[in-house]
C-alpha cells in the first residue's frame, strides 16, 4: 500500500530521459554506419570513453559522488552529439580536445549538470572548428562514391595511427554544404554544382538519409513527450522561411528549403541539440523565439558566412539570449493578473 495521491507517475528522471535520447539517436547512427562505413562507431566509442573519463575526473576534483552523477547519462549524450557533429576517422586527439572543452570547460567550469550556459557539445565543436579547420573539414565520403570505404579495423588504424599508406582523398570528400559554398564563390553555375554526384536527391548522397533518420528519432522524442513541438517546428520553420526569402532576394539560383533541411546538421540540431533543456529557453513562447532565431541564423551563416554549416554557432548565439528571452516571455500565472491588469487593484 502506498499513500495518496494514487497517481502513477511516469518515470521522468534524468538517467531515463537521457537513455531515451541516446536510443532516439540510434536510427541516424545506423544509417550513418550503412551509408558512410563503420567509422562512426570508432568516434562514438572514443568520445564516450573520453567523456566518462573527464566527467569522473571533474566530479572527483569537485568532491561529488562519481557513480551517482555518471549514471545520469548526460555526459554520454554530450559525447554522442559531439561525435555526430564531427567528421569520423579524424585523429584521436581531435576527439580528446573536443570532449575536454565540452565536459570540463563548458559543463563543469560553469557548475556542472544543469548549470551550463552553453550546450556543451556545441562548445566542443566550436573550439575544434576554430582551432583545427583542416581536420574538421575532412569528412568521410559516402560509401556509394568513395574510392575506398575503411573497414572497422582500418578505421581504428586511421584514428590512432594516422592515414599511413591510404591516400586521404580515397575516403574523404567535401560535404555538399562545403562544395556548394566554395564552387558558388568560384563562379560555377548553380545547376552544374547541384548535378554532381555528391548532392544526391535533396541534401547530399547519404547525408539526406541520415537526416531523415534523425528526423525519425526526433519524432520519437516528440511522441514520448521528452521534447515539445515548439523548438523543432520553429527551428525548421525559420530555416525554411529564411531560405525561401534568400531565394527571392538574391539574384541567381540559391539552395532550396529541402536542401537546407536535409544537409549538414539541421535535423540533428532541430531535434537533439537546440532542444537541450538546460541551455535552451524554457517558456513556450520563449522556445519559439529562441528556436526561430537559431534557424534563421543557421541559414544566414550557411549562405553568407565563411563556415560551411551554421547550426553550432546559431545555437550557441541563441544560448546567450535564452535567459533574456525567458525573462520577457514569462507566462501569466493562473489566478494572477497579467501585465495589463497590473496596478488595477
Amino acid at each position: 500500500m502506498t499513500g495518496s495521491p494514487y497517481i502513477t507517475q511516469p518515470r521522468r528522471e534524468t538517467p531515463r530521459i537521457m537513455l531515451l535520447v541516446l536510443l532516439a539517436l540510434l536510427p541516424g547512427i545506423v544509417a550513418h554506419w550503412w551509408l558512410f562505413g563503420p567509422g562512426i562507431w570508432v568516434s562514438l566509442l572514443l568520445c564516450s570513453l573520453f567523456a566518462i573519463g573527464f566527467e569522473s575526473l571533474a566530479l572527483l576534483m569537485r568532491n561529488l559522488p562519481i557513480g551517482f552523477y555518471l549514471r545520469d547519462n548526460t555526459a554520454l549524450v554530450t559525447a554522442w552529439l559531439l561525435a555526430l557533429s564531427m567528421p569520423t576517422l579524424a585523429p584521436w586527439w581531435l576527439y580528446l580536445v573536443g570532449v575536454f572543452f565540452a565536459i570540463i570547460v563548458a559543463k563543469h567550469l560553469y557548475g556542472g549538470m544543469g548549470q551550463n550556459l552553453f550546450n556543451p557539445a556545441m562548445v566542443g565543436f566550436a573550439v575544434l572548428i576554430l582551432s583545427f579547420p583542416v581536420q574538421m573539414t575532412q569528412w568521410p565520403a559516402p560509401a556509394a562514391l568513395a574510392a575506398h570505404v575503411p573497414s572497422l579495423t582500418e578505421s581504428f588504424d586511421l584514428v590512432f595511427a594516422g592515414q599511413g599508406s591510404l591516400s586521404i582523398d580515397a575516403y574523404t570528400s567535401a560535404t555538399p554544404l562545403d562544395s556548394l559554398k566554395t564552387q558558388l564563390r568560384a563562379g560555377t553555375a548553380f545547376d552544374d554544382i547541384i548535378g554532381q554526384a555528391i548532392f544526391g536527391h535533396v541534401g547530399g548522397t547519404g547525408g539526406e538519409l541520415v537526416a531523415l533518420m534523425f528526423l525519425a528519432g526526433g519524432l520519437l522524442l516528440l511522441a514520448l513527450r521528452l521534447i515539445t513541438w515548439h523548438i523543432p517546428v520553429a527551428f525548421l520553420g525559420a530555416m525554411a522561411l529564411t531560405a525561401g526569402l534568400i531565394q527571392l532576394i538574391e539574384p541567381g539560383p540559391q539552395a532550396g528549403i529541402l536542401f537546407h533541411w536535409a544537409a549538414g546538421g539541421a535535423m540533428l540540431g532541430a531535434f537533439f541539440i537546440a532542444t537541450d533543456p538546460v541551455s535552451a529557453a524554457s517558456t513556450p513562447r520563449g522556445k519559439l523565439i529562441y528556436a526561430a532565431g537559431a534557424g534563421f541564423l543557421t541559414v544566414i551563416i550557411r549562405v553568407y558566412g565563411n563556415l560551411p554549416d551554421g547550426v553550432a554557432f546559431a545555437i550557441l548565439l541563441m544560448n546567450i539570449a535564452a535567459p533574456l528571452i525567458d525573462r520577457y516571455t514569462q507566462p501569466r500565472v493562473f489566478g494572477h493578473a497579467g501585465r495589463k491588469g497590473k496596478g488595477s487593484r
Partner: protein, 226 residues
C-alpha cells in the same frame, strides 16, 4: 630597512591589488596583446615605464594642479609621456613597434595608468607614488607574461617567438620549441583563448588565496586550542 608602508605598496602592486587579476583594469590591451611572451613583455614594460614617470610627475606637481581640472591635466601628462615612449620604440625597435601597433598610443587610455595617478599619486609623496606605479606596472607585466606564455605555449608550442623584433635577425633562433612538430591550437591565439586564460589565472589566484587563508586559519585555531 624596508618600512611597512613600502612593503605594503610592493605587496599590493604585485599580488593583493594586482591590476590584471584583482582590479581587472586595463583589460583591453591585456587581452589583445598577450598572444605571445615578447609582445606581452614589451607592452608590459612600456606601460610600467609610462606609469612610473607619470605617477612621479603628477605626485611632484600635485600641489600646483587645480583640483577641478585635475583629470585633463593628468591625461595631458600621461599622453605626453606615451608619445615619448612611442617615438622611442619607433626609433629603436621599429619591427616591434609595428607589431604592437595601436596599443602603444592606447597606453594613454589604459585605465590602470589614470587610476594609479588619481587614486595614489595625486595624494602621496613622489617616492611612494613612483614605487607604487612601478609595482603596479610590474604586477600587470607579470600577468601579461603569464598569459602570453600560456597562450603561446598552447597555441604554437613555442616560447619567446619574435625576439628578433627586438634584438635583430640574429635572435630569430632563440625561440624555444616545446614540442617537435606541434599541430598548433588556434583557439589559444584567438581572442577566446585570452578570455579563457585570464579566467583561469584569476581562478588560480583566488584558489591560492583561499588555501593561504585556510592555512592561516588552521594555525590560528591551533593556537587558540593551545
Amino acid at each position: 630597512m624596508i618600512s611597512s608602508e613600502t612593503r605594503d605598496i610592493i605587496v599590493n602592486g604585485l599580488w593583493k591589488q594586482n591590476p590584471g587579476i584583482v582590479q581587472l583594469l586595463g583589460l583591453c590591451p591585456l587581452l589583445a596583446i598577450s598572444n605571445n611572451v615578447v609582445n606581452a613583455l614589451s607592452l608590459g614594460l612600456a606601460t610600467t615605464l609610462v606609469m612610473a614617470i607619470s605617477s612621479g610627475a603628477v605626485s611632484g606637481l600635485r600641489h600646483w594642479i587645480p583640483h577641478a581640472i585635475r583629470i585633463p591635466v593628468f591625461v595631458l601628462i600621461i599622453a605626453a609621456l606615451v608619445t615619448v615612449v612611442q617615438l622611442l620604440m619607433n626609433a629603436y625597435v621599429h619591427p616591434l613597434y609595428l607589431v604592437l601597433g595601436v596599443f602603444i598610443p592606447l597606453i594613454t587610455t589604459n585605465c590602470i595608468v589614470l587610476a594609479r595617478v588619481e587614486a595614489f599619486a595625486s595624494k602621496r609623496s613622489t617616492w611612494h607614488s613612483t614605487l607604487d606605479a612601478i609595482m603596479m606596472g610590474l604586477g600587470l607585466t607579470l600577468v601579461l607574461v603569464a598569459l602570453g606564455a600560456g597562450r603561446e605555449a598552447f597555441g604554437k608550442g613555442t616560447l619567446l617567438a619574435g625576439l628578433d623584433l627586438v634584438f635583430g635577425p640574429q635572435a630569430a633562433g632563440w625561440t624555444i620549441h616545446l614540442a617537435p612538430d606541434y599541430q598548433g591550437f588556434l583557439l589559444a591565439i584567438l581572442p577566446p583563448g585570452a578570455f579563457i586564460g585570464l579566467g583561469l589565472l584569476i581562478a588560480l589566484r583566488n584558489w591560492l588565496d583561499l588555501r593561504a587563508k585556510a592555512a592561516t586559519g588552521a594555525i590560528q585555531a591551533r593556537h587558540q586550542v593551545a
